[in-house]
Symmetry: C2
Subunit: 228 residues, 2 copies
């Protein structure tokens, strides 16, 4: 079976990493179906970017699954009574950590893979600049692959989905260089935790700092649109 | 720490198994928080039963998380254009299988455990009368325990949640005997895939057949309220 006959589900937040992931999967010839989550983000610019980029990169379908993380609580990204830290990246698990978020996202993605009979699930996790999230580590992904093989009809029948994380060992600079090589226009991606309605970045949150540093280390002009 | 200081999250569908589970966790002294899902079930009698039983068994809180499995599609339980089979239990994975359903449920439960800092997560899966679902098997639960230890802040800090499945090796008859011993009134639980608005069972679906057989094998009168 050629790659053109292979179906992939791509977790697409609309940020830098996941757009690079979509471009990569398309360059490998996969039929791509993108999946985004409306989980009570502080802004919807990221979701608008995901929809636009899905069309631009020829995704076969784009799903937005509403998930109610807000009712679970406990994170600055979904609980608007907590403040997003702007003082720089630390070694601690940050307050922007959403409890079990990637586990929930991957569980839904697995369901979509099963319905579409997809061979691959592309996840843009990154263990280098992972900002202290436990569910971005390689051992978490390996455990999810084991679970996926056991959880599904396809897995039981021996043709389960392969969880692919091609960005996991890359630095932000390497991801950016990969994407630029694939023709990605990063001015259209939104990484900021506090982007405004137009998708312009704050420049101060952890995500902005890691992205800014990535462009600097890649030796490339940062095309991010910043506020003020 | 005594059990009275321990917090447990209980996955509570409102059916026979999960109510037995709640009664068991309470009898062990846990502070219990119940969690149900509104996932486009054909009827809501099961959710009403879960809410009533949470109150009756002294749960500290009861959450209903709406999840949009219907948009994913592919199961007779959520896709109303497919028919629920009434011809008896077979060896095949049945059409009532919801893609990755237990994975999604457990992922949300893990998030709630993390927010509540729970020590235990009680899941009423059963590998004996498991009706062909891949995500009710012991190896699936073991894989989820591994994932949970890696996925969460609590797990990383070494005090992760223990996934408890005390019903997994019991027959339906043994579960019923356990529950009756704990004082459970099974007339208030709803197991049927096609229950009516009053929670009365069809008597013909896989779930009804397994339940009916359970009472017969336990040598107990079946208190289930049947339609017509």
């Amino acid at each position: 079976m050629s790659m053109a006959d292979q179906t992939a589900v791509i977790l697409l937040s609309g940020g830098l990493d996941s757009v690079t992931l979509l471009a990569l999967a398309r360059s490998e010839g996969y039929q791509c179906h993108t999946l985004s989550f409306a989980y009570g983000q502080r802004h919807t610019a990221e979701l608008a970017a995901a929809a636009n980029l899905s069309t631009q990169y020829g995704a076969k379908s784009h799903r937005v699954v509403p998930i109610d993380l807000g009712s679970i609580g406990g994170s600055a990204l979904t609980d608007h009574s907590l403040s997003v830290p702007v003082d720089g990246v630390t070694d601690q698990i940050p307050i922007t950590y959403v409890p079990a978020r990637n586990t929930i996202f991957l569980a839904y993605a697995l369901a979509v893979c099963e319905v579409l009979e997809a061979q691959a699930l592309f996840v843009g996790v990154n263990a280098v600049d992972y900002s202290g999230y436990p569910d971005c580590r390689p051992e978490f992904i390996a455990a999810f692959q084991t679970l996926a093989n056991l959880a599904t009809k396809a897995g039981v029948e021996g043709h389960g989905v392969e969880v692919k994380t091609p960005l996991i060992a890359l630095s932000k600079a390497e991801i950016i260089k990969l994407g630029v090589g694939l023709g990605v226009d990063y001015s259209q991606t939104v990484s900021c935790y506090s982007a405004d309605e137009q998708g312009r970045a704050c420049g101060l949150c952890d995500s902005c700092r890691l992205r800014k540093q990535g462009f600097a280390q890649a030796g490339l002009v940062d095309p991010t649109r910043y506020q003020a």
